[in-house]
């Protein structure tokens, strides 16, 4: 079976947040909930300080600590290494949020509108997003990125990969040595976030210049 993984090229990412917005649009996540997001980071001191955007998402660890601590069996890992949450089984204890080193899990206690000052009903787009969210996830449970499971089932790429204008994100099979992601990791010395934790993430980052 394939082990799906991501490669994020830090040289190419310039922090336009397209991935974050595309993820929101594809998954109808409520306000304040991001399954894919970018964080600015700085290193060094003036005059040689460097600023770098770090795109983040669920790292789909091969040894997911969130699954280990989940008491209900709501968190599972499929044959492709993707970690899923079953909202019908999750009781919302938030232990997985404590155990996840990557901040990939979030809970939603209720829908928050983007336009709190607006009078009347939600606008049609937000009403649609709310309806879809309640249909798929509901409230009180842990939620996270699943590399756009539904889109992949339709043969599409994850939304953030498709939307990235800088082509900084790659998606593919880590077990196939000839796949684009494997070649990039090998050729450009891709690295994982916080490898010392032993989670073996499926997301690799290519070093910035």
């Amino acid at each position: 079976m394939a082990r799906y993984g991501f490669v994020v090229d830090l040289k190419r990412c310039y922090g336009c947040y397209s991935c974050q917005v595309a993820c929101k649009a594809a998954n109808n996540t409520p306000m304040g909930i991001d399954w894919a997001w970018c964080r600015p980071s700085e290193t060094g001191k003036y005059p040689s300080a460097t600023r770098q955007m770090i795109p983040l998402l669920c790292q789909q660890c091969a040894n997911p600590p969130c699954m280990e601590v989940c008491p209900t069996g709501a968190t599972t890992q499929d044959e492709n290494g993707i970690v899923h949450v079953d909202p019908d089984k999750c009781m919302g204890c938030k232990y997985c949020i404590m155990a996840c080193p990557y901040g990939a899990r979030q809970t939603v206690s209720g829908w928050k509108t983007y336009f709190p000052d607006a009078e009347g009903d939600l606008d049609p787009f937000e009403a649609y997003a709310k309806k879809e969210w309640e249909k798929t996830w509901g409230y009180g449970v842990a939620t996270k990125c699943d590399f756009c499971h539904d889109r992949r089932a339709e043969g599409k790429l994850p939304a953030c990969v498709e939307a990235c204008p800088a082509k900084a994100r790659y998606f593919g099979d880590l077990d196939d040595p000839t796949s684009e992601v494997s070649v990039l990791i090998r050729r450009e010395r891709g690295f994982q976030l916080n490898p010392e934790l032993g989670t073996d993430p499926s997301c690799y980052y290519l070093p910035p210049r």
Binding site: R39, I54, T72, C93, M98, A99, P101, V141, L193
Partner: protein, 296 residues
């Protein structure tokens, strides 16, 4: 780098952990006291009185903290890997044994008053469950590895001592409130409680000192000692939870002892709240860059 403490486990979880520690600690101390001789039996009974209601109340508080309490029955589906699942099983087992112990010894039946061997056997089983429950409440946090402030071997020891201290003080408080004669066993128990508080204070100092090696744990310690949590720590944990009970306990009058015991129990709750609220996730490291997690 700006570190931010986790916000998901706060007062409710602290109350749950403190109640479980109080119930299990008092029961364990009660059972151990019972095994020392017949003159300790009346105090041992008070320990048994604490076990079930405290843990039941703690369980209810925990339920209110769940995002979806209707699925709480699934909490023990993964005891092989999850400490919450293990803890839920231990909690249920302890509640069951302590309830039987209470019903057969304290109220309504007194069958176990003369059946000393049966009482000891039941107490031994319940004591093991209580011990496991106390250890679970510390290991639960230790298992969250990205939070260095929690992921240390000293924390379960600290929570263990705190549970024993709050349990001991709980028995003392209930003893005084129910008009228990200010007998030598009660005085002895109070002295034991004070000793446990001293050990707890030393362990707390070791815990904080040993947390300075990792940057995020150092940030946690700063938050606790001089940051947002400093008031709660110095006033609640050190003042109310340690200094006041030790000083008032040494005074030795019934009123001062009762106040000391109440303060010690409250301090156990503050301690857990400070530890929980001080939890900071490790930053994400991408090569030479570091990113703090968004508010978790």
């Amino acid at each position: 780098m700006m570190f931010k403490a986790q916000t998901k486990w706060r007062w409710g979880v602290a109350a749950y952990l403190a109640l479980v520690a109080l119930g299990a600690g008092a029961y364990l101390v009660g059972v151990l006291a019972d095994m020392r001789g017949p003159e300790w039996a009346s105090l041992a009974k008070l320990g048994v009185v604490f076990g079930f209601p405290c843990c039941a109340l703690g369980g209810l508080v925990k339920l209110t903290q769940l995002g979806k309490p209707s699925v709480a029955w699934r909490a023990w589906m993964r005891p092989g890997t999850s400490w919450i699942a293990r803890g839920s099983l231990i909690l249920v087992a302890f509640m069951l044994v302590s309830f039987i112990h209470f019903v057969l010894w304290v109220w309504p039946s007194h069958v176990l008053t003369d059946a000393i061997e049966a009482r000891f056997v039941l107490g031994f089983i319940g004591g093991l469950c209580a011990l496991a429950l106390i250890l679970y409440s510390g290991i639960l946090l230790t298992a969250a590895r990205p939070i260095a402030f929690w992921s240390t071997a000293v924390l379960p020891v600290l929570f263990f001592l705190s549970a024993l201290a709050s349990g001991t003080l709980g028995i003392v408080l209930l003893g005084i409130l129910t008009g228990e004669e200010f007998s030598w066993p009660l005085t002895r128990l109070m002295q034991g409680g004070i000793a446990l508080l001293v050990f707890q204070g030393i362990t707390l100092a070791i815990y904080l000192q040993s947390s300075h090696r990792v940057p995020e744990a150092r940030a946690s310690v700063s938050l606790v000692l001089a940051g947002e949590l400093a008031g709660l720590f110095w006033f609640g944990v050190v003042g109310v939870g340690l200094v006041l009970p030790i000083v008032l306990g040494l005074v030795g009058t019934p009123v001062s002892t009762a106040v000391a015991a109440a303060c010690g129990i409250l301090g156990s709750f503050f301690l857990r709240q400070v530890v929980l609220a001080g939890g900071i996730h490790a930053p994400l490291r991408a090569g030479s860059f570091e990113v703090a997690l968004p508010i978790v």
